[in-house]
Symmetry: C2
Subunit: 225 residues, 2 copies
DNA sequence: CGAGAGGATAATGAATTCAAAATTCAAAAT
DNA sequence: ATTTTGAATTTTGAATTCATTATCCTCTCG
């Protein structure tokens, strides 16, 4: 893993149209590295080493760092470089609360704007969710759970909402928390998801909004941090 | 206006500790210029000219541009530089909807977290609002209106929420819309504000949340854009 | 007279350079 | 032995340089 972003082969370089600017590629890459934990929270950014790893000069890397700092994923220390942002338990709870509020709006708007295919997709994911619940497969359950929430946000067709939600999602991923639930909570979560799907299919925006705004409450235990 | 960011006087330079990095100062400055309309929507960013105006080299300017692009205030055109973002009427409506959702959460949390001084401050602003309403002074009315909403968000003591809200606020300012209301709507807005204040003082988070989530609906006419 | 080719000019994107600041490390002093 | 000092080294922040791409302008040809 971690190959240079630019093709090392000269021919490939000249033949391939450069899709995006380097700083955008580096930003994307760093977000992924932070989200996956390859760059750990609090870790100092070694500019020169990262440049070498990514195969770019410091200029695009620093541009990317500034952009990510604006997103909250990187902290800039005056005259002392930058490090991966450290999130507190409180910040995680805050992000959850904001995301729940956004999902509430997304639910309302999705009921008005979603097309049938999008709703069908959520339903399909819901079936998968139930499958993993029955199997007791928590890892895949959480992945699907997240996918469902994302699909509902996408179905709002509100680009601004989608973008803001995405930013928070990046942060939450960076936090690498463990969302452990006991069987009772898990059962309740499943019931809530049943309601969510039902209201979405009925396009009952108001009720779906209420559900989503409170669905995330108390789901969080805490992060290892 | 528009003096270089760095002191031109050598003595001042050496004596004063440099507070923040150039890119941060430039970002701040550009946000203000976009918010005030000094840089108009859609306007091409002339890097060299701006550098000269701000008294910095292209490096910090470009870092700032990347950061603002991430915020949505600047558009990056591949190999063609950048321009001030152009917002559509739809994006403005989207931003309003998201802000209303965030204010709803802010209201709920403010009722739990605000201290009495913060509530008193909102009440004082509310009195000012009424004053401007009676005077028919729309300009100051909107300024105070915005201040009230901001104070409620701040009173949530949810840093993540505050930050996300602030980002949207920058965009909305950049849009320079006109929020014209007829007398009937204005009267209704005042009544809503009365309710908002009443619920805040009673710390009735649920009701305040509902109010704020729907307060902004239909407030928007449109932008000159 | 207008459309298009082609070359000059300017702007962009990224690498490199350079000064200032922080960090490291070894020697000296308590 | 531990802390302190101060020079060497590294890292950072920002300016400058350089290759590439886009834009403009003129000239030719229809």
């Amino acid at each position: 893993m971690s190959e240079p972003l630019t093709a090392s082969d000269e021919t490939a370089k000249t033949l391939r149209i450069r899709a995006t600017s380097l700083h955008a590629q580096v930003s994307e890459r760093l977000r992924a590295m932070i989200g996956s934990g390859e760059l750990a929270a609090g870790e100092k950014i070694q500019e020169r080493a990262l440049c070498e790893l990514l195969g770019v000069s410091r200029t695009p890397l620093r541009e990317a760092l500034k952009a990510l700092a604006n997103e909250g994923l990187i902290e800039l220390l005056p005259n002392r470089g930058s490090r991966v942002a450290v999130f507190t338990r409180r910040q995680l709870q805050e992000a959850f609360a904001v995301m729940a509020a956004l999902e509430g709006l997304a639910g309302e708007e999705a009921c008005e704007s979603a097309n049938d295919a999008e709703i069908a997709e959520v339903e399909a994911l819901h079936q998968e969710l139930l499958e993993y619940y029955r199997e007791g497969n928590a890892g895949d359950y959480f992945a699907i759970n997240r996918a469902i929430h994302e699909r509902i946000v996408l179905a709002s067709h509100n680009e601004t909402l989608i973008e803001v939600y995405r930013g928070l999602n990046h942060r939450v991923r960076a936090m690498r928390f463990s969302m452990r639930m006991d069987p009772q909570q898990w059962r309740e979560a499943i019931e809530e998801h049943e309601s969510i799907l039902r209201h979405l299919k009925r396009r009952d925006g108001h009720e779906l909004g209420v559900l989503l705004r409170y669905h995330l409450r108390n789901k969080l235990r805490d992060a290892p941090a």
